[in-house]
């Protein structure tokens, strides 16, 4: 039957396409609940911002700071909130890592988002954080950096180039590894960037 064959092909081919796509999607586990504003999983993602980007952050002490001010140091820019669970877990790690690396040319900048002054100061005191922190009250900075959740970190070379973006909570080891890589690169050791 000619008509039969044309129906078989005319309908069958598109249907096959649709079905294979869906099967592929289900196997890939697409469509599971998407991203949330809290990043519980550690991972590296592609940069969401121009490598030369910068910001003007008013620190808790009232000073205006930017990445530019730390030219010559490796800079870690951390977006966080005092209420977010992985940030809480990460707090002491960050404080310790900073104390360990601050004499080796590494600076940290904390940017609290979706947060207010008292809990942020409490958090800093509780975790004995020594690096500079500020609040981005209305998203001017984090939207500019393509941040969609917390914690998210950007790593900046001494030349002011943003090179890596890490989401989710770090351990001392993950941070140490990245910072070692970056200092090695600065010193021209190893095969890192």
């Amino acid at each position: 039957m000619n008509q039969r064959r044309s129906v078989l092909v005319g309908v069958g081919v598109p249907v096959l396409f649709v079905i294979s796509l869906m099967t592929w999607g289900v196997i890939q586990n697409n469509g599971q609940a998407g991203q949330t504003s809290v990043n519980n999983q550690f991972g590296e993602v592609s940069l969401s911002v121009d490598a030369n980007a910068d910001f003007e952050l008013v620190s808790l002490d009232g000073e205006t700071i930017s990445i530019e001010d730390f030219r010559g140091s490796i800079v870690v820019v951390d977006f966080w909130s005092s209420w977010c669970a992985p940030c809480k877990a990460e707090g002491p790690v960050l404080a310790k890592t900073y104390d360990k690396w601050k004499n080796r040319g590494v600076e940290f900048i904390g940017i609290a988002i979706w947060d207010s002054k008292e809990p942020v100061e409490e958090f800093i005191e509780l975790n004995k954080i020594n690096y500079v922190n500020g609040i981005d009250p209305d998203g001017r900075i984090f939207v500019d950096f393509g941040v969609s959740g917390i914690p998210e970190k950007f790593f900046v070379t001494p030349e002011g180039q943003i090179v890596r973006k890490i989401i989710g909570p770090n351990t001392s080891k993950t941070l140490d590894d990245i910072l070692t890589d970056m200092t090695d690169a600065v010193l021209g050791i190893g095969d890192a960037q």
Partner: protein
């Protein structure tokens, strides 16, 4: 058959309708974004941007904090004088293409927009082809005498329709109408 003048009725109607549609679309397309207030443009753009942390909602429809902040960013960017396209680019550079509520019309994404046009064209094409095919196929077993055509034309005239209404009602004033009616019913089924 009733003689038709220079252009058949249906051609004239089609042309008229098409003309109206075209002029409507052209005028609509001529509304420039500069003519719309910044606030309305901000709402428009908020409907074109997805909220990155809320499944399937635009920042316009979401109450999540990030949506609030992104709406503010849209307003700021507008006040700095950016065009709508620049603002959409700003967000897709930072949050990826998936931040746009509709795919761009460029490159691979053009497929998203071409397909609907193809679908409609193909559907109408198949429909018209089928009608034509069904018109000419030979499975007709109704007598195709010359009178059939005349009756079917008359049948659709208004007066005939009204007679039918009367008949439906059960108001059969005229036995000839009734007779004609029955004949038509035979025809119709």
């Amino acid at each position: 058959m009733i003689a038709t003048h220079t252009f058949p009725y249906r051609v004239r109607v089609t042309v008229l309708v098409l003309f109206t549609i075209m002029s409507a679309i052209v005028t609509e397309a001529c509304v420039r974004e500069e003519d719309i207030s910044l606030e309305q443009r901000a709402y428009q753009l908020s409907g074109e941007l997805m909220c990155p942390v809320c499944d399937g909602q635009t920042i316009d429809g979401s109450n999540a904090q990030i949506a609030v902040d992104m709406r503010l960013k849209v307003t700021n960017l507008l006040q700095e004088g950016n065009t709508n396209a620049e603002i959409l680019d700003y967000f897709s550079d930072r949050y990826g293409e998936e931040i746009l509520a509709a795919p761009t019309g460029k490159g691979f994404n053009m497929l998203a927009w071409i397909f609907p046009a193809l679908i409609v064209t193909a559907a109408l094409g198949i429909a018209l082809y089928t009608i034509k095919h069904m018109k000419s196929s030979v499975l007709n077993n109704e007598p195709k005498s010359s009178s059939t055509g005349n009756i079917s034309i008359k049948h659709t005239d208004l007066s005939e329709y009204l007679d039918r209404v009367d008949k439906d009602l059960g108001i059969k004033k005229d036995s000839t109408i009734q007779a004609k009616q029955e004949k038509e019913d035979e025809e119709e089924n």
